[in-house]
């Protein structure tokens, strides 16, 4: 304890600061011998990869020598080492082309977070109490091995399960091989924002089970259905770069963006036309537009090919979807639908895209298929300026395979609920279902049943707080990384990065730990995990690319390997975008299906629309101070959460700005301050996901409310993914609230004047 105080003082006196002018050595920490003799003040740029969302951006880390307080050999002291100071986009990387979004910029704070776990922990108190004690790595690994050894020998499905966030590249490969080695098929990828629906739709319509890549840069007309592609959806930076090009990059041409969504997302805010269609009717709108195009012979129905056939009545010209017929349902004047249809047909190349809430309705799959059909009808799928698909990486299994035989999270929960002994050991990696799944799924109680849980996360969160053993992973900047982004570029991309800096704390890379374990477990396991280390696995996997036509020409394998690290990866040079398979038509034509909502309109008059926060994403970034203090682009709110409600609606309910209001669904209720905005449909209540953590570092814990908690456990028909936009709620004012806004005036005209 005394030592800690002393450290505090030494820190306060600036011993670690830029200047340690005065005093004598014996008043300071000891200094360890630096690995290399670094030249102070000289920066080097090292490639890295952003792992904070699914975008897969390439980064450059600005590394400069600095003095870090570290523990080495159980002793605390100062070490001169290279420290990442700033993250920038990698200019050569095909996805983000040198740019980086706010979340990527904040990646630094993951590495330097004060509450990051610094060494392996063993649970000392009762489960979930958050009482842990530090242990050594050898002890930790021995413990794991003893837990796993029974499974390896077994023949039938073992009691092992691996719950991760969506993984790609060799990380995914090692995890799946490890799971298989333990005779288990239970590798579950969990994320609140999953793109399974879109993947399924694309696979049946275009034969590509991948999220689309939007060639906005060369597009003249974009119709977006709920896809917030400038903020959080799919590959935001790639799409933003292209968007800038679409707006002002081409002399004489400026593309148009039409966006259908019940609330103004960042994309909607930038659209030339924002239309708030009734939630769940996006598919109808798409077919309405298609109807106009077909009936006015702007394009022939057959042009849609397989995608069209997937929709019932497509060939019949979709008579029942005439704008005049559906305008009541969708709440958009027929005239505007017709106008948009004509414009889209006239301004080629045009594309349509679906995502976000549109695909997260119970009829999300239908919506997606309808939009795909429209997209195909517009005739630019796989063509420049349209929707294209990132070609598979030569010599690796195409991502179509990834859909098959993957256990979904709620199925996994059902297994445990039905048979408590089904799962005996659970590995956790960066997945936080206790926070990011509806309370009605009772994730915590279900996972409680599992006798042994080990977590590889870098932070204690709601889920890993239940772990019996925590083996903290390196931060992304400290470890080897590889990534194979499924979308965002017309080139096949393999991102690869060596550690940008040496580890600050006593942590180990999760893949390396798995490999260690595998080799300790036994011959079978060792066979399926033939590599010593993670980077060796990558070298083995990507060595083959040397022969492929790509961004690197190397004289030998090592040279190629080195060049790949220097460049931050490998990518094919020419745009050989994958062509959609039009003849294949697996699924029978789907009928129009109306969206189902949980709770009836009389008791619960409002649609509840959670959305991914620009700063905290799905909540996994709420622990970063920068992400807490950066004002939300639309509400300018900081350090908290809020409920978006239409100004007139609020006036009817007697709700004023920043009043505390209660939002209640059939499955629970939450309280948050109101944010009044004209830019949301009157019957919709929107709320950002990300806050409301019960246990997630000093910055996020018990701050704001978590909209996911009150969602109904409804799934998108035909898939297993959560229909998170299908809940109805009621709201009521409960008192004065506290809303921390950075911006004052909401409208251009000062209110004092407007009201005269």
């Amino acid at each position: 304890m005394e030592r800690r105080d002393f450290l505090k003082i030494s820190a306060l006196t600036g011993a670690t600061a830029a200047l340690d002018a005065c005093g004598s050595p014996d008043h300071q920490l000891i200094r360890f011998v630096p690995e290399e003799d670094l030249i102070p003040g000289i920066a080097t740029w090292k490639p890295s990869i952003c792992t904070l969302c699914t975008g897969g951006c390439g980064m450059l880390a600005r590394v400069m020598p600095g003095e870090a307080e570290v523990v080495r050999r159980g002793q605390l002291g100062l070490l001169k080492m290279g420290l990442a100071k700033k993250l920038e986009g990698n200019p050569n990387h095909p996805i983000n082309q040198g740019k980086l979004c706010p979340r990527g910029q904040a990646g630094l704070q993951v590495t330097y977070h004060p509450d990051r776990l610094r060494n392996p922990l063993k649970r000392s108190g009762p489960r979930g109490s958050g009482e842990f004690q530090s242990i050594g790595w050898d002890e930790a690994i021995k413990e794991l091995a003893s837990q796993l050894s029974p499974f390896e020998s077994g023949k039938q499905e073992s009691g092992f399960a691996f719950l991760t966030s969506p993984l790609r590249g060799q990380r995914a490969n090692i995890v799946s091989n490890f799971t298989a080695a333990l005779k288990s098929t239970r590798w579950i990828e969990f994320a609140f924002l999953d793109d399974q629906t879109v993947r399924l739709a694309n696979s049946s319509a275009f034969g590509h089970a991948a999220p689309p890549t939007l060639d906005l840069a060369r597009s003249n007309y974009i119709i977006s259905f709920g896809a917030d592609f400038l903020s959080t959806w799919n590959s935001p930076v790639a799409q933003s770069v292209a968007y800038g090009q679409m707006r002002q990059g081409r002399p004489g041409v400026r593309g148009k963006l039409v966006h259908f969504e019940p609330r103004t997302s960042i994309t909607a805010a930038n659209a030339d036309e924002w239309l708030a269609c009734a939630p769940g009717t996006e598919g109808l709108v798409a077919l309405g537009i298609a109807h106009v195009i077909i009936s006015e012979n702007l394009r022939s129905a057959s042009a849609a090919g397989a995608a069209g056939n997937a929709i019932q009545g497509w060939t019949g010209g979709l008579a029942e979807y005439a704008p005049a017929t559906i305008e009541k349902q969708v709440g958009i004047p027929a005239a505007r639908i017709t106008k948009i249809a004509r414009e889209a047909a006239a301004n080629q190349p045009a594309l349509a895209v679906i995502g976000g809430s549109a695909a997260a309705q119970t009829n999300g799959l239908f919506n997606a298929l309808a939009v795909n059909a429209l997209n195909a009808l517009l005739g630019n799928v796989g063509k420049p300026g349209g929707t294209i698909f990132t070609p598979p990486i030569p010599g690796t299994p195409s991502n179509a395979a990834e859909l098959q035989g993957k256990l979904e999270f709620d199925a996994f929960l059902r297994q445990i609920k039905s048979d408590p002994n089904a799962v005996k050991v659970l590995f956790l990696y960066h997945a936080n279902p206790v926070f990011a799944a509806p309370a009605s799924l009772q994730v915590r109680n279900t996972l409680e049943k599992i006798p042994f849980i080990a977590s590889f996360g870098s932070f204690i969160d709601e889920t890993s707080a239940m772990a019996d053993l925590i083996l903290p992973d390196h931060s992304p900047l400290e470890s080897w990384l590889d990534d194979t982004p499924p979308s965002g570029s017309a080139q096949a991309v393999v991102s690869l990065a060596a550690p940008a800096m040496s580890p600050l704390h006593d942590t180990r890379a999760m893949p390396d730990v798995l490999l260690d374990l595998g080799h300790q477990l036994g011959p079978d396991a060792a066979k399926s995990l033939p590599w010593k280390t993670y980077d060796e696995a990558m070298k083995a996997a990507y060595g083959g690319l040397q022969k492929q036509k790509g961004s690197i020409t190397a004289k030998d394998a090592d040279d190629f390997w080195q060049k790949m690290q220097d460049q931050g990866g490998w990518w094919s040079t020419e745009e050989n975008s994958a062509v959609p398979t039009t003849e294949k038509n697996s699924t029978p034509p789907t009928k129009v299906s109306a969206p189902q909502f949980d709770g009836d309109a009389s008791d619960f008059p409002f649609h509840f629309l959670p959305y991914a926060s620009q700063m905290q994403y799905d909540g996994s970034l709420a622990n970063l101070p920068w992400m807490q203090e950066a004002p939300d682009p639309l509400s300018s709110a900081m350090w908290g959460t809020w409920v978006e409600i239409n100004t007139q609606t609020a006036a009817k309910l007697g709700i004023r700005q920043s009043d505390l209001i209660e939002v209640a669904s059939r499955h629970g209720s939450l309280r948050a301050p109101a944010f009044l905005t004209p830019a949301i449909a009157p019957d919709v209540i929107a709320m950002p996901v990300g806050q409301g953590h019960q246990n997630y570092t000093r910055y996020a814990t018990s701050r704001g409310a978590n909209p996911i908690s009150i969602l109904a456990p409804m799934t998108v028909a035909g898939t297993d993914s959560l229909a998170w936009a299908a809940t109805r709620v009621k709201v009521s004012r409960v008192g004065e609230g506290k809303l921390i806004l950075f911006g004052g005036g909401l409208n251009e005209q000062p209110a004092e004047i407007r009201h005269r």
């Binding site: 820190a11 830029a18 003040g41 400069m64 600095g66 420290l83 990442a84 100071k85 700033k86 993250l87 920038e88 986009g89 983000n96 740019k99 980086l100 979004c101 706010p102 910029q105 904040a106 704070q109 330097y112 004060p114 003249n220 007309y221 400038l230 933003s240 770069v241 968007y243 800038g244 707006r247 002002q248 400026r254 960042i266 909607a268 805010a269 930038n270 030339d272 924002w274 006239a346 301004n347 620009q614 101070p625 920068w626 992400m627 203090e629 950066a630 004002p631 682009p633 300018s636 350090w639 239409n646 007139q648 004209p678 830019a679 701050r703 921390i740 950075f742 911006g743 909401l746 251009e748």
Partner: protein
């Protein structure tokens, strides 16, 4: 000839993603103040993205406008400072010399753009967050006014580099943190004294306007107004 650093922000490209805001925090050692202080109006964002709504549902237009120090050619903040802490540099920036600042906050009152930020307390970084701090930028202590510097540390570095190579700074060689991160390439930085530079070229656009230009502050940040769409044929 001296440079005149300027910036152009294309509002038709800007999506309001705020990559610039966080990039600025990372580059310039801007401390976070925490919820309590943020609630008391002490949050510091050298660049902010202003958002305005026009009209009522369903015909609402949303507009974004990044606002940073406009580096006025005729800056209201400069003459009022009694100690020359705020002054006009030889390269036309509104310099803020932290060690000379006594904290009258007069400059912040005089600034029509509200882009000056004050350190009400000493900045705080929970260890080891302090390891991220950029050694090229000094840390401002309590009682000091701070603001956007156009990343003067990057400008200086580039100039020293150019000087050592016996050449002039190339156009586009200098990128402030916000410009470098801007996901839609809405921001362009360069030398307004060089008529060939991209920033000068864009500043001559028919969409070019300046913020609160009527006050005669002669800002060096030019905004290109949002374009409208008529059948894709628009310049």
């Amino acid at each position: 000839m001296a440079h005149q650093w300027g910036m152009v922000i294309d509002l038709d490209r800007c999506t309001g993603c705020e990559a610039c805001v966080v990039a600025c925090h990372a580059e310039n050692n801007i401390s976070t103040v925490g919820a309590d202080q943020a609630a008391r109006g002490r949050a510091k964002h050298w660049i902010r993205v202003e958002r305005y709504y026009e009209g009522e549902f369903p015909d609402v237009k949303t507009k974004f406008m990044p606002v940073l120090c406009q580096q006025c050619g005729n800056a209201p903040c400069e003459p009022v400072c009694p100690t020359f802490a705020s002054y006009h540099t030889q390269e036309g920036l509104n310099g803020q010399i932290y060690n000379r600042c006594i904290g009258t906050r007069y400059c912040a009152n005089a600034c029509p753009y509200n882009v000056r930020f004050f350190n009400f307390y000493n900045p705080v970084w929970d260890k080891p967050l302090n390891l991220q701090l950029n050694p090229d930028v000094s840390l401002r202590e309590v009682g000091i006014m701070e603001k956007c510097t156009f990343c003067v540390q990057r400008i200086k570095a580039a100039e020293i580099q150019a000087q050592s190579e016996k050449r002039d700074v190339k156009d586009g060689e200098i990128q402030p943190a916000c410009v470098q991160s801007c996901t839609t390439r809405a921001m362009v930085f360069g030398d307004l004294n060089d008529p060939e530079s991209e920033v000068s070229r864009l500043a001559r656009s028919h969409r070019a306007t300046r913020l609160l230009d009527e006050l005669g502050t002669a800002p060096k940040v030019t905004y290109l107004q949002r374009d409208s769409w008529h059948d894709g044929q628009d310049v």
